[in-house]
């Protein structure tokens, strides 16, 4: 049975701040990783807050996320430090974090996850344009449905907006104006919530309906994107068209929370081209585009992470050539994940498919 609390303040962000500040002021955690504005830009960045007095800029409910913060979360929880951390993360960030735990990139020891029920994020530029008009984007986004339509393409097809594995879930769906609901997801979360001493509340009626409606809308969108994308890349030639403007900048892999390699193999000596090899390749096909291995890069990356892709859409967001990388990756990932009956971020104990094998042949598997 979950424990519920509700904080109502002057604004949504104030309500969140009240709760998170107590975490620090009551010494329940040593630091909080949360999205916060800097004095220099409205764009909230992952920020490690260690003092209750430094909570001013936090803005986790603003519809922006220039990073999938799983990466930053993994950085601060790379190894147990003896300090207790609270990580305020969106659902896709938590799922990615779970994958990174499996890959030994971080530990959840002494970590509290506060999950945000996420209505989506905007592309950075879109967000900044709106932010120039609306001072409180978090609040505006809650009530202004036209703003809600401005979230990223990938967010529009996201069905997993309710966080899993969160100790505490932070939600605004079905909550009164300027109020934030807190629900415990684990025993740790329950204890913490009690210690925080926030006003208790009931699970708001009607939130389930809202959730269901949103889910239906997202599912329809996802189906459409998958169908459209699958058709767009169903031949290698079409795929070439799709990635024709790729600059081999590897931003997508840099932004990808589950592309965890310290250095991508495509940046290593393995793919360093030699002039005579390039000449031979050119001679063979008549001409060769430089840099080479663009297709190889994308397909290899798929073969490396399709099973773990959490569908956060950062790869599309960072692409300077506006290639819908996330459309491609989520479409393929869904198929690969179905083949292995694997859901990234579902369970810390669920092993990465390639790292285990069966002695017996499964029916339907290749001979």
């Amino acid at each position: 049975m979950s424990v519920y609390a509700m904080v109502k303040e002057k604004s949504l962000t104030e309500a969140v701040k009240t709760a998170l500040t107590r975490l620090l002021s009551q010494d329940l955690v040593d630091a909080v990783l949360v999205a916060a504005k800097s004095p220099y830009s409205a764009l909230p960045m992952p920020t490690l807050v260690a003092e209750a007095s430094a909570m001013d800029g936090i803005d986790p409910l603003a519809p922006a996320a220039p990073f999938n913060a799983a990466r930053q979360a993994a950085t601060v929880s790379r190894q147990a430090t003896g300090k207790r951390l609270a990580l305020v993360l969106r659902p896709c960030e938590i799922r990615a974090l779970i994958e990174l735990v499996k890959l030994n990139q971080c530990t959840l020891e002494n970590v509290v996850i506060i999950g945000i029920e996420c209505l989506g994020r905007m592309e950075n530029e879109v967000f900044l344009n709106h932010a120039a008009v609306h001072a409180d984007m978090a609040a505006e986004f809650q009530k202004n449905t036209s703003l809600q339509d401005d979230i990223t393409r990938t967010c529009k097809m996201c069905e997993q907006f309710t966080p899993t594995h969160a100790d505490i879930v932070m939600s605004t769906l079905g909550a009164p104006e300027n109020a934030v609901l807190f629900a415990s997801g684990t025993e740790t979360g329950e204890a913490l919530l009690k210690e925080l001493g926030l006003p208790t509340a009931e699970n708001p009626a009607g939130s389930e309906t809202v959730t269901r409606q949103l889910l239906e809308k997202r599912a329809a969108c996802k189906k459409e994107v998958f169908a459209e994308t699958s058709e767009k890349i169903n031949s290698i030639e079409k795929f070439e068209q799709m990635i024709a403007t790729c600059l081999n900048c590897y931003n997508c892999r840099q932004a990808c929370p589950v592309c965890y390699c310290r250095e991508c193999v495509f940046l290593t000596d393995v793919f360093a081209a030699r002039p005579e090899a390039l000449l031979r390749r050119a001679q063979k096909r008549g001409a060769v585009k430089l840099p080479t291995d663009t297709t190889m890069f994308h397909l290899t990356r798929l073969s490396h992470i399709a099973h773990s892709c959490v569908g956060c859409g950062q790869c599309s967001s960072v692409c300077p050539s506006n290639i819908p990388v996330a459309d491609i990756f989520t479409t393929v990932a869904a198929q690969v994940q179905a083949r292995y009956d694997y859901v990234p971020g579902r369970d810390v104990g669920e092993p990465i498919p390639y790292l285990m094998f069966e002695e017996k042949q499964k029916s339907g598997e290749s001979k």
Binding site: R262, V265, V270, P351, L355, M356
Partner: protein
């Protein structure tokens, strides 16, 4: 890369006499290869593996400053070592070498000369593409434990143990039965010299027991094998004997007194009974009985008995014994797990198990043996001496429905039976054969001898053995029905006794031993030797050797010779004292490693550990076997197998598709 160590590749296309050259246009291949990047010289030559061929490479390396070599010839499984040594002799690192297999993969399997030449070009170009990225590799030396594990205590294992121990090395001989001796201990005479098996065998058994260098584990099984050449860690399970070996004097009173007397004797092939506490045969080594827990009243049926314990003066009986596990260190392992006789029950038409007078050859051996159920008298179950006996060859052998191979020993032992029958009973003996196979010293002579002794030979596989009679006078006899392919007549021969010369098949449990040791088995289940002709006792697993029938059917002289060969290999290894580890093992680049531990989870040999301080995976080179599972699991290619790097493999693929 400075000009000095800029790759200069020498390529050598072998004619292999007439094996490659006429089908593949070797000169054209050489001309084509000469034009490739970094190729300093491309030559073709009659026999690259010959001394002049190797000298050509050595000479070119020195004179032309080659620093990479490609030889296009046979399979690298054949001559990779040869050429690596040549390269090494010339002062280059032996891993600056790559082989293209244009014989097994091209000239021998491709009909069209044009296609063969094109394929050869492609394979050689790929080798050139690959060798460009080769790196010098080092091997390490590891000390070899001065002991040998021999698995199986038949004549093969005994001989291997004796030879190894005579060289001064510690030998552990493990036998799963209560006594050593194996099948040979069951035989009466041995062909073609008709030596008494026991007379030549028992002294050897005693030698094994008394040899100070041999530790004997009977009634024991190998439970676990870990480690690698020179350093195997072996766990032996000593099954409970329920008799204390240190106290037992072998007086045999327990066996006389044991009230459970009707247990079928395995050693006598079911033709007689033994007691629940028993030694398989009187000359058993060690002469210490075993209690058969399944049949013992105390152990198997929870009854009060303990008669053996009551009568044992040295109090050697111990019903409380438990399995004991012993850990040993061995530098080499000799596998001598032998064979088992084919069970002819599935050949319904021969009526084995249905007609009492149809015997298998092993049963017949026991019937002939002085320690056997009839004390060596060849008589039928009714006690009468047979007047006519048929011996059926190739039962289960040379038969696509059963075992397609020739079991090699059946013709000869069948003729030995014929001789013994003539000598002991004067019976008429008819041998039904497909072909008589008597290749061996004095074997053909023996064949002639038994013919002269009046043994009749019918060339034809027997169709059926039945008790349906045509003549009422043959009541109680069996009729052997066969086509005599020499006279083109059907033979219906009434006989008193039939001996089925059953073939040999891998011993029960050899599959498990194979898994334990990592040995592969051929389609029939025999262990694969490293090379059928040139490495017949070595296996693909370094430090593990084969002796006797576990590698394929063999007679006693061949078994003994091969066992000495296996022991010789083991001794050579132990005497050298050191082995060089393989160079093709995994390495993990700490600068690229993200510490995800995927490689650690993939490693079957627990050869990768995690360095918590640096948060990177580290390979234990002594344990790594070079399988590359870690490399496939590592997305950043931080883990890779030396000599099978991404660059090398992808260069090969790229060149193949040029």
């Amino acid at each position: 890369m400075t000009t000095q160590n800029k790759p200069r590749i020498g390529v050598y296309i072998c004619h292999c006499g007439m094996n490659i050259a006429p089908r593949v246009d070797v000169e054209e291949v050489a001309r084509f290869i000469q034009e490739l990047d970094h190729v300093a010289v491309a030559r073709d030559y009659k026999f690259m593996c010959s001394n002049p061929g190797q000298d050509m490479i050595i000479h070119d390396i020195k004179e032309l400053g080659l620093n990479r070599v490609v030889v296009a010839s046979c399979s690298p499984r054949m001559h990779e070592k040869t050429f690596r040594n040549a390269v090494k002799t010339a002062g280059l690192n032996p891993y600056y070498f790559q082989m293209a297999n244009i014989r097994e993969q091209v000239s021998w399997v491709t009909k069209d000369s044009r296609e063969a030449t094109e394929k050869a070009k492609s394979l050689v170009a790929a080798a050139v593409g690959r060798v460009f990225f080769h790196q010098p590799l080092d091997t390490r030396e590891v000390t070899v434990a001065k002991s040998v594990l021999v698995i199986g205590g038949g004549i093969a294992g005994m001989q291997a143990a004796l030879t190894s121990a005579n060289a001064g090395y510690q030998v552990y001989l493990v036998e799963r039965e209560p006594s050593i001796g194996g099948h040979m201990a069951k035989f009466d005479k041995t062909f073609p010299t008709l030596d008494c098996a026991a007379c030549i065998m028992t002294p050897k058994m005693v030698d094994v027991l008394q040899h100070p260098g041999i530790t004997l584990f009977t009634w024991s099984e190998v439970e676990k094998v870990e480690g690698f050449i020179g350093n195997f860690e072996v766990t032996v399970k000593k099954k409970p004997r329920y008799v204390d070996e240190t106290k037992c004097t072998g007086c045999g009173t327990c066996m006389q007194k044991c009230p459970t007397k009707k247990v079928i004797s395995e050693f006598n092939e079911g033709l007689s009974y033994r007691t629940a506490i028993y030694t398989p045969f009187p000359q058993a080594v060690p002469n210490v009985p075993v209690i058969d827990a399944d049949h013992c009243r105390v152990l198997g049926q929870n009854k009060k008995c303990g008669v053996c314990a009551k009568f044992c003066e040295t109090k050697a009986i111990d019903f409380e014994q438990k399995p004991e596990f012993v850990t040993l260190k061995a530098g080499a392992i000799i596998t001598a797990t032998g064979f088992q006789a084919f069970n002819p029950t599935s050949l319904e038409q021969y009526g084995y198990g249905r007609f009492p007078e149809v015997y298998t050859s092993l049963e017949f051996e026991r019937l002939n043996n002085a320690t056997g159920p009839t004390s060596g008298k060849v008589v039928m179950k009714n006690g009468k001496v047979p007047e006519r006996v048929a011996i059926i060859h190739c039962v289960g052998s040379r038969d696509t429905r059963h075992r397609k191979y020739c079991s090699r020993v059946c013709c000869m032992y069948s003729m030995k039976f014929a001789h013994l029958l003539r000598e002991k009973t004067g019976a008429e003996v008819w041998e039904f054969y497909i072909d008589i196979r008597s290749p061996g010293k004095l074997y053909e002579e023996f064949y002639n001898r038994v013919q002269e002794e009046g043994v009749r030979f019918i060339r034809g596989r027997v169709a059926e053995i039945t008790d349906i009679i045509d003549d009422p006078g043959d009541q109680g006899r069996l009729t052997v029905i066969a086509e005599s392919t020499l006279t083109r007549r059907t033979v219906r021969l009434p006989v008193d006794m039939v001996v089925l010369s059953v073939g040999l098949e891998p011993a029960k449990g050899s599959e498990d031993i194979g898994r334990l040791l990592g040995l592969s088995r051929d389609g029939d289940g025999w262990f694969n030797e490293l090379h059928a002709k040139l490495a017949p006792v070595a296996t693909p697993i370094n430090g593990i050797f084969l002796a006797g029938c576990c590698q394929g059917p063999k007679d006693i002289p061949d078994t003994v010779a091969q066992s000495m060969g296996a022991a010789g290999e083991a001794i050579a290894l132990l005497a050298r004292g050191k082995v060089t580890t393989q160079a093709e093992i995994s390495r993990i680049d700490p600068d690229l490693c993200s510490g995800c531990k995927s490689c650690i989870e993939s490693c079957t040999y627990s050869a990768i550990r995690f360095d918590e301080a640096r948060k990177v995976a580290v390979v234990n080179e002594a344990l790594c076997m070079g399988c590359g599972s870690c490399a496939a699991a590592c997305p950043s290619s931080a883990a890779g197998v030396k000599h099978f790097t991404d660059k090398q493999v992808m260069a090969e693929i790229e060149a193949l598709l040029m």
